[in-house]
Symmetry: C2
Subunit: 237 residues, 2 copies
């Protein structure tokens, strides 16, 4: 049972899950599954279920839920906030954020961000694919592009912010258990933050500057490294 | 002085550095630098130097070394060993290993590795580019493809091995200061290690199984996460 498929349908004992054209193409065309084949389903809410193919066609199909194989495992309450960069690296950041266990992925526009829009649906699909691949039972939401400025103004009171300032390589605090609770990680754009943004970020009472070593990391590398630091100190690793 | 260029030439007071065709194309064609422009040079041995363009042509050019701006900073004695996967992800692993501060990058053939050869020169060029971009003064060597089996047989006595076994998510030890010295990190191929390989790796006296959380990470994600764990515990972060 190596194939894992995300479906937007309730999963439970006796449930029948219809497949749309894309899913049918993937399961029966690409993966060559047939009636009777068993695959793993999850929907981000009901854990993972073993299901059996009961109908297989070119334009659709159906599966029957057999038994739950994993309970829903929510990731820690961690947001990953990043400034979209070149397409391939933006896709990678979303994929990696899902693998590393972010609960929400927030693309932001900063003073030095070039892109003014993103394809939210495409990024969400990357998060789904990463969840299918990494064995998770949860899919992080990818939000629409927001202005960093606005996000910080509307910041929830109880959420702490880990801010990786590449202008301060080597400096930075170490996260400890005392810092538990809701968190967000902010990864800067290529070219860094503007002076105004840096000043504002440093002055925020909920912001913590954390160092990611003596070399300057690309945004996608920094996202994985920062989430590793956080997951080890405060998350589910 | 934002442009950083790797050159395979001694750097020092009064040195003149000739540029080959590719470097001239990059500096004068792509980056539109002219005579008198200042750029940063490093060669992996003599630190970083501020240099001035003294000749600029289509087929070549020259720079004069002005002063050293950074001493040579060697990364910790860490090897990254990985099984080559799809081209783009292999390129990413090499790039990330250089950014994260590996001293040597070793592609290996495992029981489940598909590729039987790699383009060592292309991977080495990725490591150079990553060093140029991340502000480092050292370029890790990318070795030729080796058989994992052979590498383990010829293993240097004093080098410890961090082995991320995706079949044991959640298990694994925590690295401590007591473990300092030469190290290597081994990242498994997509599809994991074979049973024979896992057994051998677990039995090695110098191997340490380390956990990278409850989700299965892709090889490129695992490389960055594993190096983060190591750099934080034992490296130069």
């Amino acid at each position: 049972m190596k194939i894992r498929l995300y479906v937007d349908h309730p999963l439970g004992q006796g449930q029948t899950i219809p497949l749309d054209r894309d899913q049918a193409h993937y399961l029966f065309g690409v993966m060559r599954q047939q009636i009777g084949a068993q695959i793993a389903l999850f929907n981000g809410r009901d854990g993972e279920w073993r299901a059996e193919v009961t109908e297989a066609g070119k334009r659709g199909g159906a599966l029957a839920c057999l038994e739950q194989t994993k309970p829903l495992q929510m990731p820690p309450d961690l947001w990953l906030i990043f400034a979209p960069i070149k397409k391939a690296r933006t896709d990678f950041i979303v994929e990696k954020a899902a693998e590393m266990g972010a609960a929400r992925i927030i693309p932001v526009q900063t003073d030095f961000t070039n892109s003014e829009r993103i394809r939210q649906d495409r990024l969400q699909a990357h998060a789904v694919e990463a969840a299918e691949q990494c064995g998770g039972t949860f899919v992080p939401e990818v939000t629409d592009l927001q202005k960093l400025d606005r996000l910080l103004t509307d910041w929830p009171q109880d959420r702490q912010l880990m801010f990786c300032d590449e202008a301060e390589v080597g400096a930075g605090k170490v996260l400890g258990e005392a810092d538990s609770g809701p968190w967000a990680i902010l990864i800067g754009p290529e070219g860094g933050f503007s002076e105004a943004e840096r000043k504002r970020l440093h002055d925020l009472p909920f912001a913590h500057v954390v160092s990611l070593g003596p070399r300057i990391l690309r945004a996608d590398t920094a996202a994985v490294a920062a989430m590793t630091v956080w997951q080890q100190a405060l998350g589910d690793w």
